[in-house]
């Protein structure tokens, strides 16, 4: 993971969007309870004779490279920004993600991206298309304020037409109130 620093970008971001500190990260996977030893033989790994060893080559990690877009070590591989019900404000917890993509666009002026806004399924399809657009546009404006250029970004909406989650439940609707960032070649 990248170190969290308060860059000038971050100041601009907080000032402009008036972000609150309230955080509602999706819950992290539960940790194993401490103090319980795992004694299955497989867990000893390379210490057991006959178990093959995987070779890993240490490569320098360039956070501004195109490869970083898909590298799970990079925040640039994170592309989803979630919104509250009937809200179009980028939540505080997604600040680092948007900052990272803005820095990447500034460093790679030829890169283009598409922001697809989404809405939950309730109500008019066309109105939901407009709500998804508002979410995509909030992400677009944040990227522009952080230095990305207009011609690098297109904000569009998928409305309620491409739900990631298909059930009629609150958690599902929350999953669908989302903006996704896709770089050229990914859509």
């Amino acid at each position: 993971m990248m170190q969290q620093r308060l860059t000038p970008f971050a100041f601009a971001f907080v000032a402009v969007l008036g972000l609150t500190a309230c955080s509602s990260q999706p819950p992290a996977p539960e940790q194993n309870p401490a103090g319980v030893e795992d004694r299955t033989p497989g867990a000893i790994g390379g210490a057991t004779s006959g178990v093959p060893v995987q070779t890993v080559t240490a490569e320098p990690f360039d956070p501004m490279s195109i490869a970083a877009l898909k590298d799970p070590r990079s925040i640039l591989s994170k592309r989803a920004i979630y919104f509250d019900y009937d809200s179009f404000v980028v939540r505080d917890e997604f600040k680092p993600l948007i900052e990272a993509h803005a820095r990447f666009l500034v460093a790679n002026p030829k890169m283009r991206l598409l922001i697809q806004g989404n809405a939950d399924e309730r109500g008019s399809r066309e109105y939901n298309l407009a709500l998804g657009q508002k979410r995509a546009d909030a992400i677009r404006r944040a990227l522009l304020l952080l230095g990305a250029r207009e011609e690098q970004i297109e904000a569009v909406s998928l409305g309620e037409e491409k739900p990631r989650c298909m059930e009629a439940s609150e958690s599902c609707w929350a999953e669908n109130r989302r903006g996704d960032i896709l770089y050229a070649g990914e859509y």
């Binding site: 399809r125 298309l129 407009a130």
Partner: protein, 427 residues
Amino acid sequence: MNLLRSSVFGRALAVVLLVLAAAARAQLSVEITGAGASRLPIAITDFGGERIVAQALVSVVRADLERSGLFRLIETGTAPLVDAQAPSYSEWKERGADALCGGTIQSSGDGRFETRFSLHDVARQTSLGGLAFTHGSGQIRLTAHRIADYIYERLIGEPGIFSTRIAYVVKNAGRYELQIADADGGNAQTALASREPIMSPAWSPDGSKLAYVSFEAKKPVIYVHDLASGRRHVAANFKGSNSAPAWSPDGRRLAIVLTKDGNSQIYAVNVDGSGLTRLSQSAGIDTEPRYSPDGQWIYFTSDRGGSPQIYRMPANGGEATRLTFEGNYNVSPRPSPDGKSLAYIARNAGRFQLTLMDLASRQTQILTDSAKDESPTFSPNGRMILYASEVGGRGVLAAVSNDGRVRQRLSVAAADVREPAWGPFNK
């Protein structure tokens, strides 16, 4: 003679199988869930001539009239009228019929048919006229719908809509199809199939084209599609989203929604994509435009007042007037063909319901008791409103009369149906 008879019989059988096969493939099935208060008793006798073809045709006429909720079919037996021109009025009066229809279908030998029928007012003991058609074997359903339209118009006093068509979107296993069917759901044909969503189909006023939104380019783009040729072109693909097409009554312009300047706003464009002009100017969302039938106004949805409500502005843009004030979610305005009322979707205690407003008095009436109504569309005679709803978690189409009495449901087994659009009169 025998050979001739069997070949005529064989051809007739083939035609009937064709009609039945179309009915089986026609994935939309119709269920009548409510009828008018007083239904006119009518006897539609079996037609003479090519009996097997006649039975297929008459069954479509009967189903059309029954589905309208305004007729009650009188048992007729299987004997055709002896004299369809001068029937025994007293006999049919005794059987309880107020109206009587009989006719014939004759093969004209070249694979074509001549169908004649006449309609009678039993109570007044007068003829209400009739028509004659010559048609191919592929036009039996259409001929039946036209006969039903004639009967409906003569007895109800307004044009029938049985020969009109509907468009709708079927979603099945990640595949989207824009389909066109007869108003009874029969004879369904696919105009566009796609792996990406299709929404907001809108008929051109002459019924030859559909405008719609397709996501095949990974974003919403507006296309205009000629149904007979299958040719289509992009009518709007600006940066951002392009959606909600609505035809002007003269068929020359489309009101559309673009986001190229920020939020969703209403513009108008020529059907070929030229001549773009901006019509609405607000800081919020303006969407779902619909022209009034006289072309003077555009009805639309806007959240400029803090919640989505329905407004009206001059068709060339200008100051908007708010029309809905009850509740905090009123969307999808559709003016009736006579311009006197407005159908829309209102949210009442979390339920999205089809609502009708009388534009003169501003009185409103909720027409349904369902919870997920969407996308209303008027029949061209204004009598019925077709809309999308949900039953058992699946998208279905439903129709209700503008007085709320007559109800129908159209569904496709194991698929989602949505986004209905009722086509214009078949000229």
